[in-house]
């Protein structure tokens, strides 16, 4: 009896089925379904209305403009519904109703007032002598543009999709009652970053302007440095939803034949909804996306882009990214910096040599250490072997574990400093310096020689001109370490072979990544790769990029000084 009573108290739904939790849940989902359905219905109705409105519109157009302003406005409003930042400005121009549509914040409203609204609305003023004559001008958009508007760049559009694109890029479009064309007025103006100094590629003596996020500004930075009409700029739109502008730059009479077509073909193959930075484009462009080595050169310096263009290479600038992509890219170009050309050639040769050695050390030094200490201590001079053994006498771990521990510490450390806000990074590096520099050694976990080795490696990888390349070196280091710990120097040599073969077989738009350096046909390229001769001797362009004209002075088509 007690049990039954208890049950009654505990479950209300036993008496009232409609109060059960399941029931409530069911009802709620039903309600949710209903609301979504009704929202869908609303949208469908909107679409049906739009479809009914569109009179024989082609399949890729949302609608076609009619000559009735009210209808056009309705169609535009349907397409741009729920976009609160779109401004519809209706006004009266000489008895004709007119409508200006623009994106608030992206279009220069002052400019619109001055060059569009004022001239059009003043046509109604009786003081104007040519009123009657001018009122006849409202028969054709082209005439309106030519005679009334004071804006610099005006285009007549007939297609609705183009008009919508124009609005979304920040232009204003003008619709006038009685005309089935629209006018796009270029009044784009939005807040953007100023041209500033490069963050990552600062040069001691030389130009220090860097790209910003606006593609047009970036192109201007390059254009301003040359008056060459052969510098061609092709603008494409990538990203099916974002429609990001992307510029392809090249020097028409220098670029390797076929390169432009190949780059444009690869860009055309990009099927993606959004392009927010240039990085995904790089990944679409390269042949080997799984390789850790960067196969496109990136720079934030316009002078570097121009230098590359005059070597017969190409550049891609993506709107919204302060970095230009340069292709083809080889090991050589990643090892060059703008500073090499501002210091004395003799010094530059030494600096470049150091950089190449640093690249080698950054990959192989810890591996060589582990191999020598664990497998071949007989290779060391006796006194050094003894002092290394003394240093290692206190450490309990095999050298491989020790090296891996140190690598992990280093990676943690680098990652922390990159992620932290700048104010904290200093504190983090202090802690890191204490931990790695002294405490770990004092604790007997890691011997001081290994600290020297790993620190040398880290510094060597920091000295790379390209950050992506130094990341690749960091990546390669770990497999080398493992090979060394399994097979000793034999493993290191296997690793050297594997890395060399990989780098030689890696192709960037047909150019071998490392092969150009050890190719006897292009040995002349060493003048500006391994070495850096004085500029007076750099009379020919690098062979490896296959520029149409190899001599740097004059041009084959008679134009000199370009």
């Amino acid at each position: 009896m007690g049990k039954v009573k208890c049950r009654k108290i505990m479950k209300l739904s036993a008496d009232m089925p409609e109060a059960s939790f399941d029931q409530a849940k069911k009802k709620l989902t039903e309600l949710q379904k209903l609301t979504t359905k009704s929202a869908k219905l609303g949208e469908d109705i909107g679409q049906i209305i739009a479809q009914m409105r569109q009179v024989a519109a082609p399949s890729n157009e949302p609608f076609i403009f009619t000559s009735k302003l009210a209808e056009n406005e309705k169609l535009m409003r349907v397409v741009l519904r729920d976009c609160g930042d779109i401004e519809f400005r209706a006004f009266d121009a000489e008895g004709h109703k007119a409508l200006l549509i623009y994106l608030e914040g992206m279009a220069d409203s002052e400019h619109l007032e001055r060059s569009v609204l004022k001239p059009l609305m003043s046509q109604t003023a009786p003081t104007n002598a040519n009123t009657t004559k001018l009122s006849n001008l409202f028969t054709d958009m082209k005439v309106v543009a030519e005679h009334i508007l004071g804006a610099a760049s005006v285009t007549v559009l007939t297609k609705a999709s183009a008009a919508i694109d124009a609005v979304m890029t920040g232009n204003a479009i003008l619709l006038i009652d009685g005309l089935n064309d629209v006018l796009s007025i270029a009044v784009v103006k939005y807040t953007k970053r100023n041209i500033s100094e490069p963050n990552n590629e600062y040069v001691l003596q030389g130009p220090n302007e860097a790209f910003n996020e606006t593609m047009t500004d970036n192109i201007v930075l390059i254009r301003r440095r040359t008056r060459d009409t052969n510098l061609k700029v092709r603008i494409l739109q990538l990203g099916e939803r974002t429609k990001t502008s992307t510029a392809v730059l090249y020097i028409a009479n220098l670029v390797k034949p076929g390169l432009v077509e190949e780059v444009e073909r690869r860009l055309g193959l990009i099927k993606i909804d959004k392009i927010l930075s240039s990085a995904p484009i790089e990944e679409f462009l390269v042949d080997h996306p799984w390789s850790p080595y960067p196969q496109t050169q990136t720079t934030e310096r316009p002078d570097k882009v121009l230098a590359a263009l005059y070597e017969g290479r190409m550049s891609i600038i993506v709107d919204g990214t302060p970095v230009a992509i340069i292709v083809p890219c080889t090991y050589n170009v990643l090892m060059q910096t703008s500073d090499d050309y501002t210091i004395q050639p003799v010094v530059a040769i030494l600096v470049r040599l150091t950089r190449n050695i640093a690249a080698f050390l950054a990959i192989y030094l810890p591996a060589i250490y582990v191999a020598v200490v664990s497998y071949h201590p007989g290779m060391l001079p006796t006194t050094m072997a003894i002092s290394v053994a003394e240093l290692r006498a206190r450490t309990p771990f095999p050298s491989f574990l020790e090296a891996i521990m140190m690598e992990v510490l280093l990676e943690l450390f680098q990652e922390a400093i990159v992620r932290l806000p700048q104010k904290l990074a200093g504190a983090a590096s202090m802690i890191g310096a204490f931990i790695i520099g002294t405490t770990v050694v004092q604790a007997g976990l890691i011997n001081p020689l290994l600290v020297v080795v790993i620190a040398t490696t880290a510094i060597a990888s920091y000295s790379m001109p390209s950050y992506t390349f130094s990341m690749a070196l960091r990546w390669t280091r770990v497999p080398m370490l493992i090979l060394a710990s399994i097979l000793g120097l034999y493993g290191v040599i296997l690793g050297v072979l594997a890395v060399t073969i990989h780098l030689c077989s890696l192709r960037s738009f047909g150019e071998s990544y490392l092969g150009g350096m050890i190719n006897f046909d292009s040995l002349a390229d060493w003048k500006d790769s391994m070495a850096r001769l004085p500029t007076t001797l750099l009379k020919t362009r690098p062979k490896e990029f296959g520029a149409q004209d190899q001599t740097r002075v004059g041009d084959s088509d008679g134009q000199s000084g370009s």
């Binding site: 007989g378 072997a385 290692r392 006498a393 050694v441």
Partner: protein
């Protein structure tokens, strides 16, 4: 993600991945890790000493010799093998920055087979013995006299670890005592001796050019004489000088410092040397010529059945010391020529001294035989079987020395 990829690309990747994995796995299976031994897990052997079994044992050390021993199924207790081991002291953190002081210890055992003795010696060590950094091997005269050189050096030549440049020395006393010597610098005596012998280009009193394991192997294979640097210990004074000549594994005799220097002039390998002679005007006083550089050519000549050698030496150097008294400025040409002639005479005397020493020992300790083989192969074929015993002791050597004294003038 993978589904979206082109099946061709995936296939290519799979193949490459499998290929790489196979290379790594196969090489690991074939060669991986088998000789991995951390540096601190190895016990450095810095020097080896080989004595006759009971050499230098005092009666109060009976007990010790019983312990430094093992049961041996074959052979006799012929040799005592001693190893100098490096004892690592861990460095004290990084703050002090000072290295721990290296100390060494000595372990010995007796037996006949070197490898068997080494195996037994593991019982006196906590870590694996490691021979790649052996610096010196000291062999006692008694041990060589007992059974010849071959049984002693065979292990040195066969071992994969002992390097060809390891120095081999001979001592007339006890070899172990030399390893017990403590150099004032605190470094192990094995390294001290090797470093000292390494100065052979500056020190004409030690041989050094043909006294390492590799040369012994070479001489052994060519059935030629073997040279060994001589080291002697008295109390706590150690001295390198002179050399021993061995032939067919037997010790033929010791050669003094003067003959060693002459031998080096013969083969032209010294870089600097001091050549002394009596002052021309004041007898009993010494002038020393300092050798800078020289050109030496030794050529065999054959006339009928007669063999003779011409040694042509050009030397350049300066006056290093002149105890003659007042006349220390040598600027006059005739004075210089006189001095040069005296130096040449002294060099000639030195060379002939060592040449006659070799002839008396009936052993071609220099390169006479090789020169004959190279220049007159037909003659060599005729005489090679009786070269050392009959031919070499009788052949004449014509020495012509041309000396130029440079840097003349006032001293500083």
């Amino acid at each position: 993600m993978l589904i979206d990829m082109d099946p061709l690309v995936l296939g290519k990747w799979c193949k490459r991945g499998i290929g790489c994995a196979l290379i790594v796995i196969i090489s690991i299976c074939l060669g991986g890790c088998w000789d991995r031994e951390e540096l601190q897990e190895r016990r450095f052997v810095l020097a080896i000493a080989i004595d006759k079994a009971e050499e230098g044992v005092r009666p109060d050390q009976e007990k010790i010799t019983q312990v430094e021993n093992f049961y041996q199924p074959h052979g006799n207790k012929l040799y005592r093998l001693s190893l100098q081991l490096l004892q690592l002291a861990p460095s004290q953190g990084s703050e002090s920055g000072q290295r721990g002081k290296t100390s060494t210890s000595l372990i010995s055992t007796t037996g006949q087979s070197m490898t068997e003795m080494l195996q037994d010696m593991l019982g006196q060590s906590d870590k694996d013995l490691w021979f790649e950094h052996v610096q010196t091997v000291v062999i006692s005269e008694e041990a060589i006299r007992q059974g010849g050189l071959q049984p002693i050096t065979d292990y040195l030549l066969r071992s994969q670890h002992i390097r060809w440049l390891t120095k081999v020395l001979i001592t007339s006393g006890e070899a172990r005592a030399i390893l017990e010597y403590k150099p004032p610098s605190g470094e192990p005596s094995g390294m001290f001796i090797a470093d000292s012998l390494d100065m052979y280009r500056k020190n004409p009193h030690v041989p050094g050019w043909h006294t390492d394991v590799g040369s012994i192997a070479e001489s052994h294979d060519n059935k030629q004489r073997v040279l060994m640097a001589r080291i002697e210990l008295a109390d706590d004074i150690i001295k390198l000088g002179g050399m021993a000549i061995l032939k067919d594994g037997k010790l033929i005799g010791y050669v003094d410092e003067y003959a060693t220097q002459g031998g080096k002039f013969l083969s032209g390998i010294e870089k600097s040397a001091i050549i002394t002679f009596e002052c021309p005007d004041s007898p009993g006083k010494i002038t020393a010529f300092e050798l800078f550089s020289h050109e030496t050519s030794l050529t065999p000549r054959v006339e009928g059945d007669n063999i003779y050698y011409i040694l042509d030496i050009k030397m350049r150097g300066n006056i290093g010391e002149m105890q003659c008294g007042i006349e220390h400025h040598v600027v006059e040409d005739h004075q210089l020529h006189k001095l040069e002639e005296l130096v040449a005479e002294a060099v000639k005397k030195n060379i002939l001294y060592s040449f006659h020493t070799y002839q008396n020992l009936k052993v071609d300790a220099s390169v006479f035989g090789q020169k004959l083989q190279a220049y007159e192969p037909l003659m060599w074929e005729k005489v090679k079987d009786r070269w050392d015993d009959e031919v070499f002791p009788t052949i004449p050597l014509i020495v012509s020395v041309n000396v130029v004294i440079e840097n003349v003038g006032a001293h500083k």
